[in-house]
Amino acid sequence: MDTGAWHRLAVALRPRRTRSQAAIAILFVLLGLGLALQVRSNAQFDGLSTARETDLVGILDDLTARNERLAAEERDLQATRDQLSTGTDRSTTALEEARKRADTLGILAGTVPATGPGVTITVTDPQGKVDAAAMLDAIEELRDAGAEALQVGSVRIVASTWFTDARPGTVVVDSVTLTQPYTILAIGDSRTLAAALRIPGGVVENLRGLGGDASVAESATVTVTALRPASTPAYARPVSTP
């Protein structure tokens, strides 16, 4: 029985050339083709084409839920991005503001050089009668007229500047003894400053009355280079405003 079966198999496997064998060959070629294609297409479509309706509905639900989740995530991320970009803008603006403020305060405190239109006043005092009070008058007059940065000789004039008399013909400003001719540099609207100095009974007239002389030169560019070291207040603290 066994040998008979194997023998018949061997006989069947022996190649023969008949019409029906050719037909069988063609059929098997088609079968192999179909097998390969089916396996390939299944691999390609993840088996979706053969999945049942309920499975497809489940898959669709999954995809929809996933899609919604991702859309929500996208919205969140976009909001975060918008926030971050406006935040960057805001901090950039704040930084610029702070820089401008620092420049302004630096000019006021005399820690940075300043340049701009202004006047140069040269005071000569051959009789040595121009005293600290006269100098202070001149400075106050310039401040009243809107001078934004002031320098006397090599000293930057700030809020804490003081004047005092020393030997006749000299004035001490912030511990620096100035010698003649005194030079005052003031940055501001040059015409206003000059006019303020020259008004009748004003600084220039007063200085002339004392026996000195003052020449006022307006110029488009006055550069105040004298600096004053920034001092950190030891006791005073800013009041934090909300």
Binding site: D2, A5, I24, L27, V29, L30, G32, A36, L37, Q38
Partner: protein, 110 residues
């Protein structure tokens, strides 16, 4: 011999050329393949029984494929395509198993 050669040639052709299956053929291809497999197992069994006949094989092969495709087509038209496909697959699988059992008994006597 020539049959297994044809099978190998067909598989290689399918893998190398990977032609696109026409869309109207796609629902029928898997059923047709299984039906053809059924015919092949039947042919092997007939060979071992000594009753193999070329004509019978060719006709059974072609008719198996056509009937399977027709059933699936009908099922699609009636709206029970997937159920009918499942039924056809079950029937063919049962036949393949019984043929395989007969082949096994013939070859190994067990």
């Amino acid at each position: 011999m020539i049959a297994s050669l044809g099978l190998v040639v067909g598989i290689v052709l399918g893998l190398v050329l990977h032609p696109v299956v026409p869309i109207w053929l796609q629902p029928y291809l898997p059923i047709a393949v299984v039906a053809a497999l059924d015919a092949v197992f039947g042919a092997v069994r007939a060979t071992l029984d000594g009753v193999f006949d070329d004509k019978v094989f060719v006709i059974s092969f072609v008719s198996n494929v056509l009937v399977a495709a027709l059933i699936v087509f009908l099922g699609d038209q009636l709206g029970v395509g997937s159920q009918l496909s499942t039924g056809v697959i079950v029937v063919l699988a049962v036949r393949i198993f019984s043929n395989a059992a007969a082949i096994r008994r013939q070859l190994f006597g067990a």
